[in-house]
Structures are given as structure tokens and as C-alpha cells.
């Protein structure tokens, strides 16, 4: 199936031109034009006071319903701590082979772990996370190749260890399924 573009929609406050900094690499990964814009959602509806986190699954459904378009891939980008009921936290989530996904920059920051702020590392991690979630929307599942961006990451260290590129196998699957 042919796709027209990838939408990166930011919800909330972010560093200036964050999306622009990652767009070129995301565009290269999927060879599709990237459209960036700001979105508006009242996040308080998704806040769980018991967990002091935001319901990732509810947000994913909302992004898909309100911003998802046929023939496009849409990724909602957040700056809040996401969870799903069963897990303590998530970096992001997406519908496999669907039209939408979400990713959060919140747990990608060094400061969150008591280390000095590092803008470069943050951008690198964020870029990988965005490509990873978009990969799911294109039907890619977690990969066992330690270098592949589709490798499952449960800690930021895992994200640091993988590259921002798809391995040969995932690249072939992406191309054969749709795609480029």
C-alpha cells in the first residue's frame, strides 16, 4: 500500500524546533515526507492521579480517532509520563499496521535518572523512539538484531545501544509490505 506522508504532531511544551531536528532522519528511514505541527488535547482527561501518570492507551486511541488519516501515518508526541494499566511505564505505543502511534520524551531525558542534561543524547533517543513506533505502524514487530531500531527497549540504556536504522531484515520487510 502506498502512503502519502507521516504526521508528527506534538502535544504540550517542547524544546524549540525539536521535531525539525529529527524530521530529516525519520524521512530518510521511511522515505516519506514528514509533516510536523502542534496539536491540542486536554491532557488532564488522561491523567491518573493514583499513578501520577498519563494513560498511554487512552491517548493512543484519541490520537488515532482524532488525528489519524487513511493513507497516512500519524505519531502523537508527548512530554508526559505514559503508562498502560499493566505496566509501570511505556516510552511509546502504536497500532501494529495501524495508522497511529504515540511516543513520549519524558523518560528519555538524562535528568530523569539523575545525570547531567545532554541535548544530543536526548535527540538521538527521541529519534530512535519515533522511528521505532512508526515502524510498528508500518507492520514491523520487535527485532532480535541488537543494532536494529526495532529492537525492543525497556530502558533508556537499551535505546542508547541500538542504532537509528532498520536492519536488513526489517528493511526488506518494510519494502516488501508496502511499501517504499
Amino acid at each position: 500500500m502506498k502512503f502519502e506522508k507521516i504526521n508528527l504532531i506534538s502535544f504540550g511544551f517542547f524544546e524549540k524546533s525539536l521535531l525539525e531536528k529529527i524530521s530529516a532522519d525519520v524521512e530518510r528511514a521511511f522515505e516519506l515526507p514528514i509533516w510536523t505541527r502542534e496539536g491540542h488535547l486536554d491532557l488532564s482527561h488522561y491523567y491518573d492521579p493514583n499513578r501520577r501518570q498519563y494513560d498511554g492507551y487512552a491517548l493512543l486511541k484519541k490520537v488515532d480517532a482524532d488525528f489519524g488519516q487513511a493513507g497516512e501515518k500519524t505519531l502523537g508526541i508527548f512530554n508526559v509520563d505514559l503508562f498502560i494499566p499493566i505496566l509501570t511505564f511505556i516510552f511509546g505505543q502504536a497500532y501494529l499496521n495501524g495508522r497511529a502511534g504515540i511516543a513520549s520524551i519524558y523518560r528519555l531525558r538524562n535528568e530523569k535518572y539523575g545525570i547531567f542534561k545532554d541535548e544530543n543524547i536526548l535527540i538521538q533517543r527521541f529519534k530512535k523512539e519515533v522511528i521505532h513506533e512508526l515502524g510498528h505502524t508500518f507492520g514491523l514487530i520487535h527485532c532480535i538484531d541488537p543494532e536494529c531500531v526495532m529492537r525492543s527497549s525497556t530502558y533508556v540504556e537499551d535505546i542508547d545501544q541500538k542504532s537509528q536504522h532498520l536492519c536488513k531484515k526489517c528493511r526488506e520487510k518494510l519494502e516488501s509490505d508496502r511499501m517504499l
Partner: protein, 446 residues
């Protein structure tokens, strides 16, 4: 993931089901959801899932009750119980009822991944284990044991009846009759089949080597013992030990063997620690052990210990009706191993084989067929391909006396009946040669 693992999520909360569904789908698992125990059980009636992830608190039937029902349907099902309200009691109860693990919501993503990965590994190992067991059974299929003759049917019957027991067995029979195959068949049909069958050819080893081979040795027990080594009795734990050519063991080893058979425990050579091993003993010999006992060459107590069941494998000459079957089997076996088409055998060649006495029994027949396939034209086995083709057809049996008589006569003729030269060639003295001439009534041709 090389092998697709299927997961059934059972939870009354839609958000939990959906979020878990998404999480596992991204990992490449095959996932289905059920909103309560009833739906889950009906799904399990129709299809099987590798892992069942179930909430403990659900309206109607709770997770623990469902766990019991699932276990009664499929005892090896992997069920992981989840709950938001963890208590030690419920956790213990779940594990007692056969849950694979018990987790408290919410849990760390890494823990969830590990849990499912470990469960998947267990499933793969279990399936692999089952598959390997089937393979072992098929490999242990004693296809070389062929025979429709009454004598062989009797052997098969005995193998079948003795296999299930733990009784010691002595297999007797001439060399080449397939005694080791009988031992393998007993082991392969016994409850010990998934454990090793360890063979020891007692006749090939000196007394000290045999001792170290059977009992193992400790490092430094003797010159050359540079490391600890397990003995064959230890290796055969839970399995079978096959002692071939048992009649050849020395009196000292007979005593040692008797002690081990009685106590099932022993010490390694140079060791101080008693080692226990659960093995079954099967022995084989081509000698008459009973007469050896009478002559004092074999210990009577050991003989009775070993000879709980005796299986006698008949020589090939006593079951000639099996020869065509065996010939056909060996042709197939060697043509397959040589990657050649299976070829027929000429009637004349088969007749000649059937007439041959086969002092080397099946081993000789097998070698004969292999040789014929190697030297033959590749299209059929002909009489000329057989080793006895060049020999004159002779009576099936020639006594040693007949052979001796013929040989002495040929030497006497060769040396023109010169007694001294003939005796020298025969490596006997003149008196012996005169006695032989007299005994065989040999006459010089005029």
C-alpha cells in the same frame, strides 16, 4: 522470534486487555483476548494457547478457579496469574494450583518481557524435548533385527517380555548372530530407553583397563590418570549397561562385578567416595557359561546373578528361511547409504547364499552383500560378485580332521613324500607326522 507463541489474555478490564494485546502484538506474539473465565474456557476448548495470562479478580469465575479448570483440561498449560491486590496467600495458592508465575499489576516492562520470554523458552524446550524423544524412539527402532523364522519370532517374544522388567539378561549365541542388537532392542523397549545404553567389550580390555573403564578413576590413581573420569557404570545411571564377551573377564573382575551388581554401588579406582548408580545389566557371550562354571572358570554366584533370563540367538544356518529377507534388507541398507538405486539379486546368487553355511553368521552375510554391491556392475548382484563364487561347491561342513587330512596329504605330495621335509613344512616332528599318516591311512601314490 523463530517460533510463534500464542497468548490468551483473560481480564475483565478492556483497557488491560487492549494494552496487553498491543504490547504483545508488537513483540510478534499471536494474541487473543477473553473478557471472562467462561469465554476463555470456551476458547481453550477449541484451540490451544501456549501461555494464558489471567487476572485473578474477575466477575463470575475468578482466576484461581479458572486455573484449576485449565489445568484439568491441559496439565502442561502455562498460566500466569495477574492481580492488582497481591497477598501471599493467593500467590501461594496460585502456585500450588500449578500457575507458572504470579505477578502484581502494574509491573515493569522489562519484567513482563522476561517473564514471557522465559515461558516461551520453556514451551520451546518442552516441544523440542517431545520431538527429540520421538526421534530417539525412531532411531532406536531396531530395523536390523529381521526374521520371520520361528526361532527369531521366539527371540522377539522374549525381548518383548523381558524389556519391561529390570531383570539381568544373558544373551548367548555364536559370533555375528546379532547379540548386541538384541541388547539394544531390550533397552529400546524398556522404560529406560531415554537414558543411555553403555556398551563395554570386556574381551578387548586388560584387567586393569577394564576396571578403570567400568568404575572410572580419580585423578592420580595411576600413571596417566591425569583427570577424574566417570566409569561406565556411572554413565549408565538410569539406563542399561551392556557387557559383551562377559566370559573373558578375570576371576578378580568377576568378584568386583558381583559386588557391584548386588549393591549397585562402587568406588572409582583411587577414590574413597561410594558412588551409587541405577543400571540394568545385559551380558552377551558366545561361550557356554554353564560349562565354564562347572570347570571352575566362571563364578557360579555371578552366573546366577546374571542369568536371570537367557536369550539364545540362533545361528543363521538354523534359520535359512530368513536369508532372502536379510539379503533384501542389506541390499536396501547399503544401496541407500551408497546413494544408489536399489538393485535385485540373481536367483543363482541367492541360491548360493542360501546354501552357504555362514560360520560368521549375519555379520558375514552383511559383509558379503556390501562387498557384492561394491564389486558388482551396479545393476544386479550376480553369482560372480560373491566371494564364494570361485570356490568349488563343497559340502556344507568339513570336519577339522578332514581339513587336517587334506592339508597333510597336499604337503606330503608337494615334498614327494619326503617325511623330514614335510614335517618341517608342517612344523611338527617326524613321529607326529608318521602318527598322522597312520591315523588318516594316507598312502603314497605309486
Amino acid at each position: 522470534m523463530a517460533r510463534q507463541i500464542s497468548i490468551l489474555i483473560v481480564d475483565d478490564e478492556e483497557s488491560v486487555r487492549d494494552s496487553l494485546y498491543n504490547w504483545f502484538i508488537e513483540d510478534g506474539y499471536q494474541v487473543e483476548c477473553a473478557e471472562n473465565a467462561k469465554v476463555a474456557l470456551s476458547k481453550l476448548q477449541n484451540e490451544s494457547f501456549h501461555i494464558i495470562l489471567a487476572d485473578i479478580k474477575m466477575p463470575g469465575m475468578d482466576g484461581l478457579e479458572m486455573l484449576k479448570r485449565i489445568k484439568s483440561l491441559k496439565s502442561d498449560a502455562i498460566v500466569i496469574i495477574m492481580t492488582a491486590f497481591a497477598t501471599v496467600d493467593t500467590a501461594v495458592q496460585a502456585l500450588k494450583d500449578g500457575a507458572y508465575d504470579y505477578v502484581t499489576k502494574p509491573f515493569d516492562p522489562d519484567d513482563l518481557s522476561h517473564l514471557i520470554r522465559n515461558a516461551s523458552k520453556q514451551i520451546i524446550l518442552l516441544e523440542e524435548n517431545e520431538m527429540l524423544k520421538e526421534k530417539v524412539v525412531s532411531l532406536q527402532n531396531i530395523e536390523d533385527m529381521i526374521g520371520q523364522s520361528e526361532a527369531m519370532q521366539d527371540v522377539f517374544q522374549q525381548i518383548e517380555s523381558v524389556a519391561q522388567s529390570n531383570a539381568s539378561v544373558i544373551i548367548t549365541g555364536e559370533s555375528g548372530t546379532g547379540k548386541e542388537l538384541v541388547a539394544k532392542a531390550i533397552h529400546a523397549n524398556s522404560p529406560r530407553k531415554f537414558y543411555p545404553m553403555v556398551s563395554v567389550h570386556c574381551g578387548a580390555l586388560t584387567e586393569s583397563l577394564l576396571e578403570s573403564e567400568l568404575f572410572g578413576h580419580e585423578k592420580g590413581a595411576f600413571t596417566g590418570a591425569v583427570y577424574n573420569r566417570k566409569g561406565r557404570f556411572e554413565m549408565a545411571d538410569s539406563g542399561t549397561i551392556f557387557l559383551d564377551e562377559i566370559a573373558t573377564i578375570s576371576p578378580k573382575m568377576q568378584v568386583e562385578l558381583l559386588r557391584v551388581l548386588e549393591s549397585k554401588s562402587f568406588m572409582r579406582v583411587g577414590g574413597t567416595k561410594e558412588i551409587t548408580s541405577d543400571f540394568r545389566v545385559i551380558c552377551a557371550t558366545n561361550r557356554d557359561l554353564k560349562s565354564m562354571v562347572e570347570k571352575g572358570l566362571f563364578r557360579e554366584d555371578l552366573f546366577y546373578r546374571l542369568n536371570v533370563v537367557n536369550i539364545n540367538v540362533p545361528p543363521l544356518r538354523e534359520r535359512t528361511e530368513d536369508i532372502p529377507l536379510l539379503v533384501d534388507h542389506f541390499i536396501r541398507k547399503y544401496c541407500t547409504s551408497m546413494n544408489r538405486p536399489i538393485i535385485p539379486i540373481d536367483k543363482a546368487a541367492l541360491q548360493r547364499i542360501e546354501d552357504y553355511p555362514f560360520p560368521g553368521n549375519i555379520r558375514e552375510l552383511e559383509n558379503m552383500i556390501e562387498r557384492a554391491l561394491v564389486v558388482g556392475n551396479g545393476k544386479r548382484i550376480q553369482l560372480k560378485d560373491l566371494p564364494m563364487a570361485k570356490e568349488k561347491s563343497s559340502p556344507a561342513f568339513e570336519s577339522l580332521d578332514d581339513l587336517g587330512k587334506k592339508h597333510i596329504l597336499s604337503i606330503l605330495n608337494k615334498y614327494n613324500w619326503n617325511i623330514s621335509a614335510s614335517a618341517k613344512a608342517l612344523k611338527v616332528d617326524r613321529v607326529t607326522l608318521y602318527n598322522k599318516i597312520k591315523k588318516y591311512d594316507l598312502k603314497q601314490p605309486r
